[in-house]
């Protein structure tokens, strides 16, 4: 057993899990509170990466890129909510799907027009580029930065949701929107804030990953599906569910990709194991979702426990 590989895969799985959480927490709030399906949430992930990349290129500072990029994405999210999403909360889910699908096309085309068809790479400052030695283990520093960034946002979000008045409204909105509205809360402002916050978190995830993968057109379209799985399995509207399930799915996905073929070799021939393993590990996350939904159709942590 190669312990170094195991530990670095563990780090990778936590990294994927936290990125998924950043995407899924915004999605689950937008789902849960506004009952709005936002397929274009992945576009904020992409726009975050491109905003950050442009600002880094202009200023030379990675942190300026993150901060200004976050503000930019927050306002982009607010703009999309104000111009488009707001008109649709009362319409059916099909309209949400169509409009946000249209938004994906628009955002992808805009990126194509503004930044061109090839990807945009984001250079890291030197002190983030190295590696860190812990005993016999070596970690790229930047991976640890992603993990601590993700954890920090998760922590801030937890404090915001559980300790502030705004968070109380968000929780109340997720479990019973009509009641919050009838208590005289300005629901439009709450929706605007939640949407923009979700967009900013998705954008943050995109900024974190872009220095590794570079920003590309449509980069959000694949990972957003797994984020949807996280939301569904975790229970729509549940931040807690999104957190646990994101880490779980990050773990399952990463580990099955690296260890499933070894495991299958114990059961079948090497050739068969090498053919079957990638297919099975690609399925695993979705099978998990099917099993959970078959037994608990509202997910593992439904936020509406005391409310029918």
């Amino acid at each position: 057993m190669d312990w170094n590989l195991l530990i670095s895969q563990l780090v990778n799985s936590i990294q994927l899990g936290l990125l998924l959480f950043l995407l899924a927490s915004g999605l689950t709030l937008i789902f849960g509170i506004m009952d709005f399906i936002n397929l274009s949430h992945g576009s904020f992930y992409m726009m975050g990466a491109y905003f950050c990349g442009s600002i880094v290129a202009a200023t030379g500072s990675f942190f300026a890129g993150i901060i200004v990029g976050l503000v930019g994405i927050f306002f982009l999210g607010a703009l999309v909510e104000w111009l488009i999403a707001r008109q649709l909360y009362k319409e059916n889910h099909l309209d949400h799907v169509l409009v946000t699908f249209g938004l994906i096309l628009v955002f992808d085309a805009l990126v194509h027009i503004i930044w061109g068809p090839s990807g945009l790479s984001i250079p890291l400052p030197d002190f983030l580029n190295g590696q860190i030695q812990l005993g016999s283990l070596v970690f790229p520093i930047y991976r640890l930065v992603i993990i601590s960034g993700g954890l920090a946002v998760a922590g801030i979000l937890y404090l915001l949701i559980s300790r502030t008045r705004l968070g109380m409204l968000i929780r109340a909105g997720a479990s019973n929107r009509d009641m919050v509205e009838s208590l005289g809360i300005n629901i439009n402002r709450l929706f605007l804030f939640v949407f923009a916050l979700g967009a900013a978190m998705a954008g943050f995830a995109g900024m974190l990953i872009a220095p590794i993968t570079e920003a590309t057109i449509g980069m959000g379209n694949d990972i957003i599906i797994i984020a949807f799985v996280v939301v569904i399995v975790g229970g729509i509207g549940s931040i807690k569910g999104a957190f646990y399930v994101a880490l779980m799915i990050g773990f399952i996905d990463t580990m099955s990709r690296s260890y499933l073929d070894d495991f299958l070799e114990l059961l079948a021939s090497t050739a068969a194991a090498e053919t079957a393993a990638p297919a099975i590990s690609a399925m695993l996350v979705y099978v998990l979702m099917a099993v959970v939904l078959a037994f608990k159709p509202t997910g593992l942590f439904p936020p509406t426990a005391g409310n029918r």
Binding site: L105, V229, I232, I236, A279, V287, M289, L293, P297
Partner: protein
């Protein structure tokens, strides 16, 4: 929204089918093989859109993963062909069986859920199929699979030439239209439409709506799978890319611009989508921008789709 079709609409529709029927002769006469290609493609996608309309328009089941069946159908041609099995009947029965089985299993799970959950779970299952084919190195993975010869049928119904393949597509289109027309007017269809508007009421009337909806889901998947068989034969190159979830989004788009829950609407939708795509991509490489904007504007400002506009012209 099964629109009562007046006699005049029927004439319009029959006229259109007649035009589609003689189209290859016209194109050959004017020497336009490209248009025949485009129309063949449009009709295949049209059949897929019709099958999606059966569950989406009539049954209210918003599936964001329908394109998976198109892909499965195509791979049911591609994988046997990879092993030099070209018998068309084998391809067809394999596609029917595989699509029915996959739809039965995933439908049984998906239909237990409602609303947002249903949309997301159908999308996730189609993504699962997409990633499976993406990881199957044996069958080309993301490089795709080339199909060197078309499915073999008895000589009087072979699909070798472009025109004979077109008539295969046209034949399946007619069958599909007729079948859906009969189905939605039958007792079965009424239960499906009824459960779209008020599932609880249909259950109270004593219908096992879950069973009806699952059956409808499987039927729709099989029709889409058959379209996939034709698509595999038509393109002679298949790749997992054709099953990406954004393709399912396009399929829903076609059903909606055509008019969900009308018999011919999705066909109009698919044809106008593909012609618009061709035309716009000739003008600008940024046609996605126009397309996306159109989609948003359509939902925000226009309702009912092409079929409803045509009916307005009728009056």
């Amino acid at each position: 929204m099964a629109k009562p079709s007046g006699t005049r609409s029927v004439k319009v529709y029959l006229g259109m089918l007649f035009l589609l029927g003689i189209a290859p002769l016209l194109f050959q006469w004017t020497n336009q093989p490209f248009l025949l290609d485009l129309l063949s493609r449009g009709l295949i996608i049209g059949i897929a859109a019709l099958s999606l309309n059966l569950i989406l328009g009539y049954g209210g089941m918003i599936s964001l993963g329908h394109v998976a069946y198109l892909g499965i159908g195509a791979y049911c041609v591609g994988i046997p062909a990879y092993y030099d099995i070209y018998d068309g009947w084998i391809h067809l029965s394999l596609a029917i069986f595989t699509c029915a089985l996959f739809a039965l299993i995933t439908g049984a799970v998906s239909l237990r859920t409602k609303g947002v959950y249903f949309i997301m779970i159908t999308m996730a299952f189609s993504q699962m199929i997409y990633f499976i084919f993406l990881s199957l190195e044996e069958y080309g993975a993301d490089d795709g699979l080339v199909i060197y010869a078309r499915s073999e049928f008895p000589i009087w119904m072979n699909m070798e030439g472009a025109v004979s393949l077109y008539y295969w597509i046209f034949g399946l289109l007619i069958l599909t239209l007729f079948f859906i027309h009969r189905l939605v007017r039958s007792r079965f269809g009424r239960v499906i439409i009824g459960s779209k508007y008020n599932d609880l009421r249909m259950q109270s009337l004593g219908f096992n709506t879950y069973g009806y909806r699952l059956t409808c889901y499987v039927i729709s998947a099989v029709i889409c799978g058959l379209a996939g068989v034709l698509l595999g034969n038509f393109t002679s190159f298949i790749s997992p890319e054709m099953m990406s979830w954004t393709r399912s989004g396009e399929l829903i788009f076609m059903v909606i611009i055509g008019g969900a829950g009308s018999l011919f609407g999705p066909l109009f939708g698919a044809l106008s989508f593909l012609f618009l795509e061709e035309a716009l991509s000739l003008i600008t490489i940024y046609w996605h921008l126009i397309f996306g904007g159109l989609l948003i504007a359509l939902v925000l400002f226009g309702k009912g789709g092409i079929d409803a506009w045509l009916s307005k012209l009728d009056k």
